[in-house]
Amino acid sequence: MVGGGHAGIEAVHAAGRLGAKVALVLPNPDKIGVMPCNPAIGGPGKSQLVFELGALGGVMGKLADSTAIHARTLNASKGPAVQSLRVQNERDGYAAAARELVESTPGVEIVRGEVAALLTEDGRVSGCALTDGSELLSPSVVLCTGTFLAGVVWYGKMQRAAGRQGEPPARHLSKSLRETGHDLLRFKTGTPPRIRADSVDFDVLQVVPADNPARSFTGNPSPRATESPTWLTHTTPHTHELIEANLNESPMFSGDIEGSGPRYCPSIEDKVVRFRDKDRHLLFVEPDGVQTSEVYLQGFSSSLPPILQDDMIHTLPGFERAVIQRYAYAVEYDALDPTQLSVTLMSKRLPGLFSAGQINGTSGYEEAAAQGLIAGVNAARWAAGEEPVYIRRDQGYLGVLLDDLVRWGIDEPYRMLTSRNEHRLLHRQDNAGERLAAVGHSWGLVDDERLARQEASSRAVHGEVERLQGLRLQGELASKVLARPGNSYESLRPLLGESSLSREEGERVEILVKYASYIERSRRELQSRAEYEEAALGELDINSISGLSNEGREALLRERPLTLGAAQRTRGVRDSDVTALLVHLRRKRTVSRETVAAAGD
């Protein structure tokens, strides 16, 4: 395992739990589990990933809960599918907890060093050579190198080779990846400035309090999870003038940085230029601990020179005298084109090589951790000679993430969003355990007792839904009363008689009752897609099928999708092409209802 970030932690932990012998290679063990961007876990799409990880036996939710200083449900009024937990963490505490977890995982040894090259034998990976000349031999290698591959950090037009602020990059791995037949992408991302907390005038900032009682990923919130607020400030016309006047100082705008940046996480320069009609942009001020020493200015990432950043910060309400402790910077790095991976996150070019996180072109701790778990499990299984596993797109966000990455490919850093998931009403954070605990159990990451607890909870929730459909409250069905706008399970609890459900279970009952018709519709939709999804294209002679558009035919020949569902998601394939394929399949009676037992390719 190469790298101890959020992907690496899950990979190491999962492989260790499955009984593999793991060497975790990284230059500095003190950096395990650092949060180089904001000190927070969760948010729309991301919290669902963390809940799914928890259900499968991952650790991110546990780490986040144990070090939480603030937790809040975002989108609380926007419906059950998009309600998303976000937890602010004590930055140093999180890293310490992560390191402790890694060190206490059985079979894990930490090796200080930098990888010089991948070792191969008979077309498979056989370990890696370190820059100190030593070699680590293993049937599986997992790369979780984050932004370190040929990393270059930019402050204004000043640049230096670095994987993260102050840390040397991975200088050799890109070459080794190319030599083993891999294509690399060049991406960039950025981070906002950190400001000394005692230089901020918090009194003028708008307070955003934590939810009380506390929310959590595991049902086990830290007692401190309600202790700290976050705050809001905003840019001013003066900020915008400063930025507009100095755009030529930005390496992004002058074209010095060639890497593709994420559109959904734009720098403040991007926002000012792209939305000239807006005279202010919201900024979230996030603490990095209860006794916070510095704050993170969410929404203010920048690649303008440090000297200018000082002036920009001073235009923000509450930051007139603020002192920047660490300046905003942009980082450029190499990533693997993820279409070279199978859905199990093993390289198609070099069997035994796995990768997870930013090296696969994603952005975000949660996306990294989710891949880390899959890569870790499959690396261990590969080493043990077992069949690989993955999560299907119709099973959850993790499946959407894997499918999007390896089938569609990406041209900018990929962030999970609820809108990427066509089944988001079925893939809620509240039912992640019900959806995936049995899968985690079958992989060996969830023990019998936890699975039994999960199953008992699911039974209790569905039993209660059924009970409410028969119970009458003053002549009216309890389920009807609960479904009425404004009513909640908690508010009706005194009227409902004996119930041993927890608050979260009560909320699940409420969702299942209130949104029953929509949930049913989504389920039917999922089933009807499943027919498409699973219809095997097999060895179709694409050239013999008429009714295909020329562009569609080329795309099908190029991408060779295995199923009709994959064909539908192939770039260049039109809906009329899918219809033509369907017609062809039906005629040939080759539509198979069996799931394609596909390990990707």
Binding site: G79, L282, S419, E525, S546, D575, T579, R586
Partner: protein, 449 residues
């Protein structure tokens, strides 16, 4: 039933059966040019496959060494043809024997006889036309009236598709905004109002749906029932409207025992006028069943003309008849306006009446325009009418979903809008249309289209 294969080469006679000045055999598919090479000898000597595309070429159709006919060959190359495939059209002399022989030749050289609508199916599957346009081709072929032809032409020109595109754009904008708001709760995405744009969409769909009755009448025609007591002059009025003698007219009450149907046309709308037996309490058995039948026909008709003798007082029976008719689908007429008026009140506030005379033609123009207004007036000023039941059903569902999305929480509203967009797209067939729907549509085509 399954859709026919689309990868082979098909041929059909594309002109109407019977003898005409010109007849066309159309061939489409990957071997069109090979078929043409085998049966057509251009006057210039080259082979058809050696000729440039989109060219009309004079030459001879031959069966081996035997001349079949002289013909003009039109030669279109994929994808720039009606079907998106290589297409050959042979314009021959129009006799059935010639055409049959050319078709048989094409088949003997490897083409397959085309089934109904196969050319248009290929055009749709190859993205040359959308489904509304494909249906409009069928509509044009089958048009029995000017109104039906006009609506099919609107469909073919994408007039309806364009309106659906506008609705789709509006829904997509609302949908996109919801997605942005839920995925970026902290990035200051403005939670823009979705009520106003959705209500506008609903208004537009309602306006389209309001034309559905007129649209279905344009295609299938309207049934116009003439009811009223014996000898009120129903048959005379019918003859006056038709402009020729259709009913048996006599002075003996109850002459029209059962009913007569006569086709007519008002403002381009096809109408079947039904002259019913005189409605009257009667002991005569044959006539009694006719009366029952007449009331039933009036109830089933799009519009009933209730004709009462204006020159004699209204009887109790006539008052009873007036109360048994649906005012929204009835026009009351006082006949014999050339004679002195015996009454001026119907005694029913929901009904008004028009004076007409089959003898002088008085009131007939007004009657025609009122019939037209009652049959197609719902369409308002809209020139475009929804003529297709499938379209109307999809629009109704889209409207229902847009209505739900008005009030649902954002994530559920997004689900409603997704389905609304899919439903809307199913009209033009740009997305996920069930194969059964396609089969149904293309099964209704005539061969050669």
């Amino acid at each position: 039933m399954a859709l026919p294969p689309t990868g082979d080469t098909i041929a059909a006679i594309s002109t109407a059966p019977g003898t005409g000045a010109v007849g066309i055999v159309r061939i489409s598919g990957p071997s069109s040019l090979e078929v043409a090479d085998a049966l057509f000898v251009p006057a210039g000597g080259a082979k058809p496959s050696g000729l440039p595309a989109n060219r009309a070429t004079f030459g001879r159709i031959v069966n081996g060494a035997t001349l079949v006919d002289e013909a003009i060959m039109l030669n279109f190359r994929a994808p720039r043809s009606y079907t998106g495939q290589d297409v050959i059209e042979l314009q021959t002399h129009g006799g059935p024997a010639v055409l049959r022989q050319v078709l048989e030749l094409a088949v003997s050289h490897g083409a397959r006889l085309a089934g109904p609508g196969e050319f248009t199916l290929r055009a749709y599957l190859n993205g040359r036309i959308d489904l509304v346009q494909a249906e409009s081709v069928l509509g044009l072929v089958n048009a029995q009236s000017e109104a039906a032809r006009r609506q099919a032409a609107f469909g073919l020109s994408r007039e309806l598709s364009r309106q659906l595109d506008d609705i789709q754009t509006a829904l997509t904008r609302v949908y996109g905004n919801i997605q942005a708001v839920v995925d970026y709760p902290e990035e200051g995405v403005e939670d823009s109002d979705r009520i106003a744009p959705l209500e506008e969409v609903i208004g537009r769909i309602d306006a389209l749906l309001a034309t559905a009755r007129a649209g279905s009448i344009a295609v299938d025609g309207a049934r116009l029932a003439l009811v009223g007591p014996p000898n009120a002059g129903k048959s005379s009025l019918l003859n006056a409207l038709l402009g020729y003698e259709r009913s048996l007219v006599s002075d003996i009450p109850g002459t029209t025992r059962d009913y007569l149907e006569a086709p007519m046309n008002i403002d381009g709308v096809p109408i079947t006028a039904i002259d019913t037996a005189g409605i009257r309490e009667t002991g005569d058995q044959i006539e009694a069943s006719g009366v029952e039948r007449a009331l039933q026909l009036a109830a089933d008709a799009h519009l009933a003309l209730c004709l009462l003798d204006g020159s004699v007082e209204l009887s109790a029976e006539e008052h009873e008849l007036l109360s048994s008719l649906d005012p929204s689908r009835t026009l009351v007429l006082a006949s014999k306006s050339d004679l002195p008026h015996a009454w001026s009140e119907l005694g029913n506030g929901n009904l008004t009446y028009l004076r007409v005379s089959a003898v002088t033609g008085d009131g007939l123009e007004q009657l025609r325009s009122q019939i037209s207004e009652r049959l197609t007036g719902d369409a308002g000023s809209s020139e475009l009418w929804v003529t297709n039941e499938r379209h109307a059903r999809a629009l109704e569902r889209t409207r229902e979903l847009a209505g739900q999305a008005l009030r649902a929480p954002d994530d559920l509203a997004a689900l409603d809008l997704e389905e609304a967009l899919r439903t809307l797209a199913s009209i033009t067939g740009r997305e996920g249309i069930a194969e059964e729907t396609l089969e149904h549509i293309f099964a209704n085509f005539c061969v050669g289209k």
